[in-house]
Amino acid sequence: MSSDQKNKIVADLLPQEFGRAGVIWTISLIVICAIGLGAYIHQIQKGLEITAMRDYASWGIYISNFVFFVAISLVGSLITAIFRLTGVHWRTPLTRISEIIAVAAIIFASLAIIVDMGRPDRFMNLFLFARLQSPIMWDVIVITTYLMLSILFLYLPLLPDLPILIASKSGGKIGQWWYKFLGSFWKGTHLQIRMSKKAVKIISIMIIPIALSIHTVTSWLFATTYRPGWDSTNFGAYFVSGAFLVGAGGVVVAMYVFRRNYKLENYITEKHFDNMGKVLVMLALLYLYFNVNEYLVPAFKMKKAEEHHLMSLFTGEFSLLFWSVIILGMIVPVIVLLFPQGRKPMPMFVMGMLVVVGAWFKRFLIVAPTLLSPFLPMYDVPENYKNYFPTWEEWAITISTLAGALLIVTFFVRFFPIIPIHETIEERVLPLKLADHGKM
């Protein structure tokens, strides 16, 4: 009985070949990446001249996209580490989804920052002449650390699944090579299991301060300046709360897509959606709280320097985007997800999308309007220096980084089980055995 069950779990969760939709999806992502790469080559030849950034809006969607990636990568630590330490048992099917999102996002966060550099050829200067006093160096350090920890956090729980994958002969030649390369040493001995469990436990504690650091330090890239809208002592907490929200939203979207495409209804259940819905409500309310602090408190005072910035958001050139993000990206999800019907998979997917898309534009609203509200008025520059709308090259490069991250996730899912097989078996089959044992 339990052996049948075990085989069924293995059969259900083994990585599957791309279907028709999968092939179309993958090819589209590759095409988008290729276009983005072409645009980037163009940028390397011409310089940042091809962007819409100019001396006032000196940072644009490259930077806001970078912040978005760092934000969404925090979900790895939320679902895997925080849920683990707080004993949330239903997390198991979500851990690997969130970890691969984290790894893909943090890789593209690093690339996004290189894309923004005026002199990418001098990248090595960051190490040759590193100045530890600069918040950028702090970011380099914590992001590298977080990437390493996230990869370990993805890899260690994957180990027990590798013998199962090798035995199943799935994944084709490439897959089998990888499985053997990554995990042929794993025999599942008592000692190995103990070491792995201990390592995972240590990482899940270590990764929390690192995760909080990556986004806090990223917020400090802004908060360490004097500018209206950035000069805030709340910025670290504001960014971290927003990061958890977008991360949870991203996981919800991924849950829905994997569940539908790989028929995982038995593993990612409606209960999971229901629980994640409640988590989303809590995180959205938390983020709204910080938004009230960031916008309404300065608005109450309306200091001269803040006025131009706040008015550009409330009623000015960014108002449509600003209110859409606040209402669609935060308030609507909260309202919908308060109802049990709203926490069913389909509405959850829609709300997750709203949260993620809203969060992307929210990062844009943090970066651009502030730069267009300098202390001294914008003056003695051509008219196009006074506003910012990204060029097609910027869009192409930015969208291709998003596509690239999705591509990493897609290929990962093609070769590795997106729901941990071994853990699922342990959770579902072993308790039954124990129960049987108890009867006797």
Binding site: E49, R54, S58, R119, F129, A130, P135, Y226, L376, Y379
Partner: protein
């Protein structure tokens, strides 16, 4: 302005590269005069140099190879190349300050054009801007030229990840365009919006391309890096005033050394401390704690009405 004669001494030790570099800057006319028995550019006392008979070959700007007697070659006095290390240290014992007298500015923009000319700055990225300012609705408008403030607590230097922008012992904040990675964090950090970025490959006249780069001249500008007002340390090393100071016909800009307590606008030299005290000098955005090295004298007893400045073509 006419170029002073430039002849580069050549010795056996100099590499071929240096030979070409030096020779290219040699002006053919001067080389020809140097060949004649009398060198009109050296002072009478020094003019007794005898021809040594040893000839050296030079490449003229028109591409001809000419021969000059070695004894007549003089080093270029005006462009001693300052090493990167020296440029980062600054001039010992100095603390440079600027005082901008708002009472006399009426937006002639001579400072701006002189600065742009000297640093090959194109119109979009003026290092000097002359803002029409009005503090409140019923207060009087005035013209406010801004340069880099060369803060004593510079926010831009704090955030630079690679030490490409730095504060020198003489108070000047410079950029090393050979090191800058173009992250533009300094631009976000500067509250005075004084920094500009070379978004495209700078379009430069030939003489700019020939220049050997130094943070002190900020020339030639380099694509993908940040530029800004540098207080003209190359001029200061020669004992001359920054271009904006000497270009202003109204004596708006005073430049000098705080340690000596002297500033000058070219025609008038005054005690810095007295000028600031007697005319209520102040600095911009004092509340931010950046401690600028640029002081302003309030626009009182003005020599021109504000409206005069509106006539200047931008």
């Amino acid at each position: 302005m006419t170029e002073l004669p430039k002849i580069v001494p050549l010795s056996e030790q100099k590499s071929r590269r240096d030979f070409i570099k030096g020779a290219v800057t040699a002006v053919v006319a001067t080389a020809v005069t140097a060949c004649s028995s009398k060198d009109p550019f050296t002072k009478a006392g020094e003019n007794e140099t005898k021809a040594s008979g040893e000839k050296v070959k030079l490449l003229s700007v028109t591409g001809e190879i000419i021969e000059v007697d070695k004894a007549y070659l003089k080093p270029i006095p005006e462009t001693p190349h300052v090493s990167n290390e020296e440029a980062r240290k600054g001039i010992p014992g100095k603390k440079f300050v600027m005082v901008i007298d708002l009472a006399h500015c009426h937006n002639l923009k001579k400072c701006q054009s002189a600065c742009n000319h000297a640093h090959f700055v194109h119109d979009h990225q003026n290092w000097i801007k002359i803002y029409p300012m009005q503090e409140a609705e019923h207060t009087s408008p005035f013209w406010q030229p801004t340069t880099c403030m060369h803060c004593d607590d510079p926010p831009c230097v704090k955030v630079c990840p690679v030490d490409a922008t730095f504060k020198r012992q003489d108070g000047i904040v410079l950029i090393d365009n050979d090191r800058c990675i173009g992250c533009r964090f300094c631009m976000a950090a500067c509250p005075y919006s004084t920094r500009v970025f070379n978004w495209e490959e700078p379009i430069l006249p030939p003489q700019a391309l020939e220049m050997q780069y130094s943070p002190e001249t900020s020339c030639p500008p380099k694509i993908g890096t940040v530029s800004k007002c540098d207080f003209c340390p190359d001029m200061v090393r020669k004992g001359e005033l920054p271009h904006c100071v000497s270009a202003c016909p109204n004596g708006v800009f005073y430049f000098g050394d705080m340690n000596e307590d002297v500033v000058t606008n070219g025609s008038e030299t005054v005690r810095f401390s007295e000028l600031i005290r007697d005319r209520s000098g102040y600095r911009l955005m004092e509340d931010l704690g950046t401690k600028p090295s640029v002081y302003y004298l309030p626009p009182v007893d003005r020599s021109f009405p504000f409206e005069d400045g509106l006539k200047t073509k931008s």
